[in-house]
Subunit: 360 residues, 2 copies
């Protein structure tokens, strides 16, 4: 992604590997400060996943893969048996960081399986290659989503997005933000309405920062204001990401997605969901089977940010101890979704068929 | 309204008059502290309106009326000509505090008109009586709205509300919260979902506090989560207030109301708007004619509250200077509204007719 550091334009990934080092953008500091965190071994990488130094399905998967590569490199001088024990222990450590992140488990399994037979040196090489392959696949999917999705964005389009399905949630480009980046780089004049996305404000914090860095015109709005702009005809299309997509096209995504989809349909506005293969869960028949995580009520009655002096600060917007409920995701039924933007192209209804044809 | 101060239950109004003193709940301190502010003359009352020590159409109207009563009492020893000049000056001062608050203008005009003919003493008496009458009318309308509205709330109902159309926005009871209070006091078991109502969080701050004081079970939710609970069948009805209602039943209310109304309709959930006569603007033919105030973008990129030590603090949730848009209200077309709850009873569609019959 394009970032500007002290006036100098650079092209950064969310996470990358330099030999035995893993480097990543510390997302807890964004948008107030851009800091690169350096993880010297797989333990530090695991800790970074746990501490949410990075978040987002794709980024977490790549971090797990790189952690496995680090572990392999750390253990490369051990005898085979000890090497394999070391790898198992590392896998266990990484799996324990975010027990609900499907991508993380996939990445760890792929690296373990890739080790294959033969001597330690050979196995190390194959694990590291597999980790790099996982990263490249993530990047390639995001790019293809951008290319396909940009075709759906007309010149002059005013686009609404929710949460952060951006470069920061993957290793680069993102899903919802990838078509927006491509359209902008093709010279289309676009404007992005960014839902702040309470309670964690990933829109106001992360999406706004990515668009600012990319030089794409945008404005943050209260989640409450999205419908207002839709009804006034000031939003031409909606693009969001997804956390999990069922075989019938029902979508679990950040809380608030469902409301936006209903109001978009009511106003005849196309509603697109951008997501790579890994997000489609063909074993899940419909959204009814998706369990919704309930997060801490503290998130709802507080807001995080920096104070006037730039110090990280949390404020209670309600009285301390106020009862609150905090579902992290909601399910948007397939009937509200105009199309899926994937690395295999644009999927249209009926989704049972188009999803199975693309990923079955 | 019922408030609990150090374990002791009291019955307070938002604002009241004690001779020449006007006392009111300082809403800027809520919900963290309950403080009664004392306004010794009409200048202080005008300043309180300007500084938003209180807000809400009804409360502002009553404050303006009481300010006029204070001015009359202050000037009661002046010769007639000087008395009238003093009253005109006071009226001007009060009008200038919130130039868009229709209620404030009405209250000032009514008090000036009430002065009538005759000597100063007589005029003072009539102005003070008119101010008290304005307050009593506000109270009576809120109570009737509560009585009528409570009939629409079944035992066991789970209710969604947005913003604060509570006692604090009027002199007591409120509009949206009045039927909820009545239903609760009648012994109905109810539960209230409170939209936090970004960007100014009147739901999380004020509505939550009123419900807490009243002992009504509730939970604050992110505005984004309202649709989630509606789709799951966990909300049985929605009640909101209104800032302005057109002759055809279109409603201008706090930003986010429109989205809730669309999603309620989509899920077959009744959507009620509670409002007194003064909110119906029969000269305004439809919502298209209502101009929407655009407030400071700072409100969207910041959040107000108290820090861990209880000190009032503002945090930037987005990077300072992030572009934002901040429409304060939206318009909900009449077709999404199941009924209006007014002091003249429940108004059903077609609204052109039922509104004219009630208030024309």
């Amino acid at each position: 992604m394009r970032v500007v550091i002290e006036g100098e334009v650079r092209d950064l990934r969310t996470i990358w590997r330099e030999g035995q080092l893993v480097k990543l953008i510390d997302q807890r500091k964004l948008p107030h400060r851009l800091e690169i965190a350096v993880m010297r071994d797989h333990r530090e990488t695991a800790q970074a996943i746990k501490d949410m130094v990075l978040r987002g399905a794709g980024a977490i998967g790549v971090a797990a893969a790189y952690g496995m590569a680090q572990a392999a490199l750390e253990a490369r001088h051990l005898p085979l048996k000890d090497f394999m024990a070391y790898m198992e222990e590392a896998a266990q450590r990484i799996r324990a960081t975010r027990p609900t992140a499907v991508n993380l488990f996939h990445a760890v399994e792929r690296c373990l399986r890739a080790a294959g037979e033969g001597g330690v040196e050979e196995r190390v090489r194959r694990i590291v290659e597999e980790a790099d392959r996982i990263a490249e696949e993530d990047l390639r999917a995001s790019k293809l989503i951008g290319e396909y999705g940009a075709q759906l964005i007309p010149d002059g389009a005013r686009i609404l997005t929710h949460c952060n399905a951006g470069a920061l949630a993957f290793i680069d480009y993102g899903t919802a933000l990838s078509p927006i980046r491509y359209a902008h780089r093709m010279g289309k004049r676009i404007f992005v309405y960014v839902d702040e996305t309470r309670p964690r404000c990933q829109g106001a914090r992360l999406t706004a920062w990515e668009l600012e860095m990319e030089g794409i015109p945008y404005a943050v709005i209260a989640d409450n204001a999205a419908g207002y702009y839709m009804r006034r005809g000031e939003i031409d299309l909606v693009i969001v990401g997804a956390d999990r997509i069922a075989a019938n096209g029902d979508v679990a995504n950040k809380i608030g997605t469902y409301e936006r989809a209903v109001v978009a349909k009511e106003n005849g506005i196309p509603f697109y969901v951008a997501a790579p293969k890994m997000t489609f869960d063909l074993k899940c028949p419909s959204g009814d089977e998706i369990e919704i995580e309930e997060r801490s009520p503290e998130e709802v009655i507080t807001a995080w940010g920096v104070d006037e002096e730039g110090n990280p600060t949390r404020v209670y917007i309600a009285k301390r101890g106020t009862p609150a409920k905090n579902p992290a995701f909601d399910v948007t039924p397939a009937k509200y979704i105009t199309a899926f933007i994937t690395e295999r192209g644009i999927l249209r209804p009926p989704y049972e068929e188009s999803i199975r044809r693309a990923f079955g």
